[in-house]
Symmetry: C2
Subunit: 240 residues, 2 copies
DNA sequence: ACGCGGTATACTGTACGCAGTCGACTGGAG
DNA sequence: CTCCAGTCGACTGCGTACAGTATACCGCGT
C-alpha cells in the first residue's frame, strides 16, 4: 500500500530559490568552475546568482548532505576535495550496490526495461565511437541509473545514484581508457538481464565495476585525484 | 582589550547553533516526541529551543539530507513517514552493506578489534537477559557500527551508519522477538572475524541480517510501520 | 443542506543588518 | 632574520523583518 499517492497531483508551484541555487552550484562544481578544496564565499555566490545569502546558505547545507561540499564551522563551505583513498572506497561501494542492483534487475526483467537499456547502450556505444567522451560518460551514468531503478528497490537506487554522482569526476579518464570494451560488457549485462539470469547479471556487473575500478587505480598518479583549487586569494589588496 | 582573559572564561560556542539544533530535533524524532508525518513548524521549534528560525531552518536542511525529514516546497518540513515497502528495502540494503563490511572486517582482523567486539557482545547479551531492551538495541547498533569501521572502508561505514539509523525504529520489536538468538549469531560472527575467515563472516552476517529482516516482516501489521502523527492542529484559536 | 468563491491567518521563503570570529598582515623585540 | 603579539579586514552565524503563499474558515448562492 503506497501512500505516496496522496501528494500526487500538484500544480505548478513556484520552486524555492534554494532549489535552483542548489542546481546552479552543483553545475558549477561538476563542470569544474568551482574547484575541489575551493572556499565557497556565500556573498560571492549570492552576487553571482543574483540572490541573497540565505538561499545560498540553505543550498550549501543540502549540498553538504550529499557530500559535494564540506561545512567547517566558523569557516564556511568548501568544495569537497576527494582523496585517492576515498575514490577507491567509493568505487568499491558503487560496485557492491550496482552488483546487487543487476541481480535484482534480472529477477524483475521486463521487455520494456531491456528495450530501454539497449537504446541507451546503443547511444553510448555510438558516442564512444565518435569520440564524444562526455556523451559516453552521460550514457554510462544513465544506463547504470536505469539498472538500479529496475532493481525495484528505491533505497538501493537512491544510494547508488548518490554514490555514482560522487565518482563522476573519475569517469572521464576511465571512459577514455577503456573505450569500447566497457560497452561490450554493458551489452552482455543486458543480455543476462533480459534472460532473467540473475547470477550471471550480478557476476558481469561485479567484473565490470571491478574493471572500472582497476582502470582508475592504474591511471591515477601519486597526487590528488583532482587538482585542488589554488591558494586562497584573500586579502586582495595587491591591486596596483 | 582584555580579550585574552575574557575569551578564556567565555562560554564559547565551539559549534554553531545549527549543530545543537540538529541534535536536538533528531533526539525529538528518535524518542518519538515528534511523530512521523508531523508538520515541523519552524517558529515552534525555534521557541522550544530558544533560538531564532534561521538555525532551525538550516538544521532541517541537514536532517532532510539524511532522510529524517521531508521538505515540501511551500509547505515546510515533515517528519519522514516510512512505509513498509521502504522499511523492507532499507533492511535489505543494510544487509548488503553489512555483509560486505563483515567480509572486509575478517580480512582486516586485529586482536584489539575482536576484543572490543566481544566486550560489546557481552554487554548486549547481558542487557538482553536482564530484559533491558533499549540497552540491547543500543549494543546491537554499536556492534554493527564497529564491524563496519573494522572494514576499513570509511565510505561503506558511513553509508551503513546512515541506513542503520533510519531503520532504528523497527528494531525494538525485533529485538524483543529474536532475543538471545541474535546474540548467539553475533558471537559466531566474531569468531569468524577473529579467525580471518572472510567467507564465513560474510555468510553469517548475511544470514543474521536476513533473519532480522524476516522477523520484521513477520511481525509487521497491515498498517504503517510507525503510527503517524494525528490530524494537523492548525487554527488553534480554541485557546482562551 | 451542499458546493463555491472570498477572506483571514499562519506559515514559509527571502532579504537585510549586526555581532562574533577566523585568518592574514604588520610592526616590534630578541 | 625569526618569532611573537597586536591589529585589521573579511567572512560566517544569527537575529529580525517583510513579502508571498498555502490552508482553514465563512458567507453567499444554489
Amino acid at each position: 500500500m503506497l501512500r505516496t499517492e496522496l501528494s500526487a497531483q500538484r500544480i505548478a508551484r513556484p520552486v524555492p530559490l534554494r532549489e535552483s541555487v542548489f542546481e546552479a552550484i552543483l553545475e558549477l562544481i561538476i563542470t569544474g568552475s568551482l574547484r575541489p578544496g575551493q572556499h565557497l564565499v556565500e556573498s560571492e555566490l549570492a552576487d553571482l546568482l543574483g540572490v541573497s545569502r540565505q538561499p545560498v546558505r540553505e543550498a550549501l547545507q543540502l549540498l553538504s548532505g550529499e557530500g559535494w561540499v564540506d561545512l567547517r564551522p566558523g569557516q564556511g563551505a568548501f568544495v569537497h576535495l576527494p582523496t585517492h583513498e576515498e575514490a577507491d572506497q567509493l568505487l568499491a561501494v558503487r560496485g557492491l550496490l550496482e552488483t546487487e542492483s543487476a541481480r535484482l534487475a534480472a529477477l524483475n526483467t521486463t521487455p520494456e526495461g531491456t528495450a530501454r537499456l539497449r537504446d541507451i547502450c546503443a547511444r553510448g556505444a555510438a558516442a564512444n565511437e565518435s569520440g564524444d567522451i562526455d556523451g559516453a560518460v552521460a550514457a554510462n551514468a544513465e544506463l547504470h541509473a536505469y539498472v538500479t531503478e529496475m532493481s525495484g528497490n528505491k533505497v538501493l537506487a537512491e544510494l547508488a545514484a548518490q554514490v555514482s554522482r560522487r565518482v563522476r569526476w573519475y569517469y572521464t579518464p576511465v571512459a577514455r581508457h577503456r573505450g569500447a570494451k566497457s560497452w561490450e560488457e554493458h551489452a552482455a549485462l543486458i543480455d543476462a538481464i533480459e534472460a532473467g539470469d540473475s547470477p550471471r547479471a550480478a557476476e558481469i556487473m561485479r567484473e565490470h565495476t571491478e574493471h572500472t575500478r582497476r582502470s582508475y587505480l592504474e591511471q591515477r598518479t601519486d597526487e590528488a585525484p583532482v587538482e585542488p583549487a589554488p591558494a586562497r586569494r584573500r586579502r586582495t589588496r595587491s591591486a596596483t
